[in-house]
């Protein structure tokens, strides 16, 4: 049985090999090209249809496969986004501080005769009727009672209390504050006291001197509480009455007390042992 089947098997092999070799030969000489084109056309159509559908199927499968990975990626990106948002906020804060320090540095260089200690504002007075701020520098840093505090925009106030690592500053706008001042053009002198959050009052201006709105108010240096020439603000309105002994002027402070972040404490200003603030009953 096996022997009878083996012979036609070998014959089949020889015949098929011969046909194959013949096909290769005819293919090489181009004789089969029309047949190949004709036979391949429907196959190519089926192939194309299948391939297109398969691609769509693959897309669906790939999408399904990647959903998990995409979710993971979204979570990772969300975490990264949160981290970057915080980092961005921190950098903005750093930038703001750097900008403030740059201005303060310029101010310090322009006023090189005085020595400054930069300090961060770490707190405001809890009582809305009092206008004081707390700084992060104190006795350990060489801060002492009465030291003037400024920014690049002008006078802020002076140190009224000192702790080991903190100090409290009485702001110009506090009604207990009084500073001897001089007007930049008329050279009239007076005393600036706090009036409210956004304005100061310059009192004790001698009658007969013409004070104009817009004049810059500076520290006079008289009494030795503050160095001379620190900017306090600008005259907005002048009140003059013949019946009164002195003129008065409303002054808009040059410093924005609402936005104090970093200030400079003048640490080498020699002042007298006791404050001399005539007409300053609220001085403390």
């Amino acid at each position: 049985m096996i022997g009878t089947e083996r012979r036609p098997g070998w014959l089949t092999l020889v015949v098929l090999m011969a046909i194959s070799v013949g096909l290769i030969y005819f293919h090489q000489i181009g004789l089969l090209a029309p047949f190949e084109r004709l036979a391949a056309a429907p196959l190519a159509a089926v192939q194309g249809w299948l391939n297109t559908n398969l691609r769509e199927f693959n897309n669906v499968v790939t999408t399904l496969q990647t959903i998990g990975a995409l979710r993971e990626r979204v979570d990772t990106l969300a975490t990264e986004n949160d981290r970057l948002t915080v980092e961005n906020a921190q950098l903005r804060e750093e930038l703001n501080k750097a900008s403030i320090f740059e201005k303060l540095l310029k101010y310090e260089r322009a006023n090189a005769e005085l020595h400054y200690l930069p300090a961060d504002v770490i707190g405001h007075d809890t009582d809305p009727n009092l206008h004081t701020i707390r700084l992060n520098k104190g006795l350990n840093d060489g801060v002492d009672h009465g030291m003037p505090v400024v920014t690049e925009r002008g006078l802020v106030g002076r140190v009224t209390e000192v702790g080991p690592n903190w100090c409290e500053v009485l702001l110009l706008i506090d009604n207990a504050s009084s500073v001897r001042a001089r007007l930049s053009e008329s050279r009239a002198e007076g005393v600036v006291t706090g009036k409210d959050q956004n304005s100061l009052l310059m009192d004790y201006i001698t009658q007969g001197i013409t004070v104009s709105p817009g004049e810059v108010v500076l520290t006079s240096g008289m009494g030795g509480t503050f160095p001379a020439g620190l900017i306090i603000g600008q005259v907005t309105t002048v009140r003059q009455s013949d019946e009164a002994l002195f003129q008065q002027a409303d002054v808009r402070p040059s410093v924005d007390f609402e936005r104090l972040e970093v200030v400079l404490i003048i640490i080498n200003f020699d002042r007298p042992a006791t404050d001399e603030t005539p007409g300053g009953p609220h001085d403390r």
Binding site: E5, G9, M17, S20, L23, A40, L43
Partner: protein, 179 residues
């Protein structure tokens, strides 16, 4: 052909008429579906696996005819010369002529071994034919790697194909009890 005391008797003279649509479908599937299942540049050769499996089940003569038809189908979908895959596939299945009647050709392990040998033969003849036709081939290392990968894939892919074809074979054969 006997397994577990059951003897199969051939029903018809040949199953060649089935081979044409089946091999065309296999060749198309190979060029579309199976090309995504690649390993080191090689994909499972469905036509080869069917040819080998059918040769082992139905005898070398019919297997060679299936291989020839399958080779033609592959050639029609390939850029190579028509007849080359036929020749390679026929020769890859030819060793069945030597083993026929001497071994249990329906054993799965034998089928896997036959698939591995057939793949090596098929790839070797294809490469030889292409080289003789003036085709520039990849470096030897890549070819060897691809051939080994194809051998592995075909050895594995013949398992389900062989089992499926046994089921199909039983549907065309009438079993008779006895020896």
């Amino acid at each position: 052909l006997s397994t577990s005391g059951i003897t199969f008797r051939r029903r018809g003279p040949t199953t060649l008429h089935w081979s044409i649509p089946l091999m065309l479908a296999a060749a198309i599937a190979q060029s579309t579906l199976f090309r995504h299942l690649h390993l080191y540049g090689a994909a499972p050769n469905l036509v080869l696996a069917i040819s080998v499996a059918w040769t082992l089940l139905r005898g070398a003569r019919e297997g060679l005819l299936w291989a020839f038809v399958g080779g033609l189908a592959l050639d029609l979908l390939s850029g190579g010369p028509l007849g080359l895959s036929s020749l390679a596939l026929v020769l890859a299945c030819a060793p069945a002529l030597l083993t026929e009647g001497h071994v249990n050709s329906r054993a799965l392990v034998f089928a896997m071994g036959a698939a591995a040998c057939a793949t090596l033969l098929f790839n070797g003849i294809m490469l030889l034919g292409l080289a003789l036709g003036g085709q520039t081939l990849d470096p030897f290392a890549e070819l060897a790697q691809r051939t080994l990968a194809a051998t592995l894939l075909n050895t594995l892919s013949i398992v389900p194909i062989h089992l499926l074809l046994i089921v199909a074979y039983r549907s065309v054969e009438r079993p008779e009890v006895g020896g």
